[in-house]
């Protein structure tokens, strides 16, 4: 009878399964680099620290290994060990440039469950990961239109009328376009936010220069709202509550800088147009 190396409980659906033989050293280092890549992708696409830990733990456990990690904003450290506490893999990886992408977060989360359920090999994970990375974003014009619609909706929620909504739509459209172009040209992301905010508020504030008989105060206030750092600020609190206080503070400051840049952009328009 074949001797079973590792037996372990899988708690997710309370069934017992066995790993036939412990993975070889090569397989482990391959798995480690795949796990680091998954972690860095999750970090850069806007997942919370606890979600990164959970996903990595889940995948490592389905290979009969336990993972310990240090998760920070810019780099991840991972060490894999087996049930006898032997260190098998140790490495560090920089995270990829940050850009929110919930399609990736959702895809990786689904993948991690499938790995555990269907006992995927490392090759399977690799092919699925490259498929997930290749998934397209929404086309640019759809993003621009929908976000501008969101800007107009914000204006309505704040109490604006339909003319103001149109102004907010236009300002958001041009602001977001500016920000995308600035990011494409390789500007600092915070500076791109500043350009977007300044442009949006300059456009929505333009109508205050002349007396058209319309009051565009609501449009002016809400035209920069498409830039608000919603994900950093909400992730801050989930990280803080989980005890990942360092990461929480880090995200908070990141969100604060974005908010500050928005304020700076608005300030340009306020001083130029002398709004008070």
């Amino acid at each position: 009878m074949k001797i079973l190396d590792v037996t372990l409980w899988r708690f997710s659906n309370q069934t017992l399964f066995m790993v036939k033989s412990s993975p070889t050293q090569e397989e482990i280092s391959e798995l480690g680099s795949v796990l680091l890549e998954i972690g860095s992708l999750l970090m850069s696409s806007g997942a919370t620290t606890s979600r990164i830990r959970l996903t990595i733990d889940r995948i490592a456990a389905s290979f009969g290994l336990s993972a310990d990690m240090l998760v920070t904003h810019r780099a991840l450290t991972l060490s894999l060990s087996d049930s006898h506490h032997n260190q098998l893999y140790n490495n560090l990886k920089r995270t990829s440039p940050h850009g929110v992408n919930f399609k990736l977060v959702s895809g990786i989360s689904r993948m991690s469950w499938r790995i555990a359920e269907n006992k995927w090999s490392i090759e399977d994970i690799k092919t699925d990961l490259s498929r997930l990375k290749g998934l397209p974003h929404y086309p640019r014009w759809i993003v621009l239109t929908f976000v501008s619609l969101a800007g107009a909706s914000f204006c309505r929620l704040a109490g604006g009328d339909y003319i103001e909504m149109a102004v907010a739509f236009m300002a958001t459209f041009i602001g977001l376009f500016t920000r995308q172009e600035a990011l494409k040209k390789g500007f600092n992301p915070y500076l791109a936010v500043f350009f977007g905010a300044a442009n949006a508020s300059l456009i929505s504030g333009f109508f205050t220069l002349f007396d058209f008989g319309i009051n565009t105060e609501h449009a002016f206030a809400t035209s920069v709202l498409f830039l608000i750092p919603g994900i950093p600020l909400i992730n801050t609190f989930s990280d803080l509550f989980d005890g990942n206080i360092l990461n929480g503070i880090l995200r908070w400051i990141h969100g604060l800088i974005i908010a500050f840049m928005i304020a700076l952009g608005l300030l340009v328009a306020i001083y130029l147009y002398q709004i008070n």
Binding site: T7, L16, V105, S106, F146, L157, I228, L233, I234
Partner: protein, 185 residues
């Protein structure tokens, strides 16, 4: 209020598109955004301080996002984050900033008035943002579970009593089988 909710839903969907939420989740995001804004404005009608309605709206979104996550097989956060964004206190934050700019000017007779208004707006804005973040996290906090897969949101008991009894029986049977399997090993 329904009209506000209508626009709130669109604001949520706009942000969902910006965050690249999968297309199959967009309808849920719209409904959650609608509900959040609708609840907020409904409660605002009772003359309650603006912080509490935002918090209740956000918690509603947080709890229902678990349901959406089960239905669409995606993490709850990708529904909840775009959906709470219409509740963000943009106008208060804007007024705070205008106030701070005004405070950098000369001290005139209505300086105290400006100061009071600025502090008021700033406090409202920051408390609303905090309450949104906590509200979204509420399911995790009160169920003490990390993964949304383990969370169960019970439908009203009267209607689903029969179905639940059946699943209970099934679960017991599964547990017996599992026990037997463990003993064999």
């Amino acid at each position: 209020m329904i009209e506000k909710g209508f626009w709130g839903g669109w604001a949520a969907v706009g942000f969902a598109v910006l965050f690249n939420v999968p297309a199959r989740a967009l309808i849920s995001v719209y409904l959650l955004g609608f509900l959040g804004v609708f609840t907020k404005f409904l409660l605002l009608g009772f003359e309650i301080n603006v912080v509490l309605p935002s918090f209740i709206g956000a918690s509603l979104i947080g709890i229902l996002s678990i349901r959406a996550a089960h239905a669409k097989h995606a993490p709850p956060l990708i529904f909840a984050i775009p959906a709470v964004i219409p509740l963000v206190p943009g106008i208060f934050a804007y007024k705070t900033m205008l106030g701070i700019i005004a405070l950098t000017g000369k001290v005139t007779e209505n300086f105290n008035q400006t100061l009071a208004e600025t502090v008021n707006n700033g406090a409202k804005a920051s408390f609303i943002i905090m309450s949104l973040a906590v509200g979204v996290g509420i399911p995790n906090l009160i169920t003490r579970k990390n993964s949304a897969k383990d969370m169960v949101i019970h439908p009203p008991k009267m209607i689903f009593k029969l179905k639940r009894r059946k699943t209970k029986r099934k679960n017991r049977r599964e547990a017996r089988v599992r026990l037997r399997r463990i003993r064999k090993i």
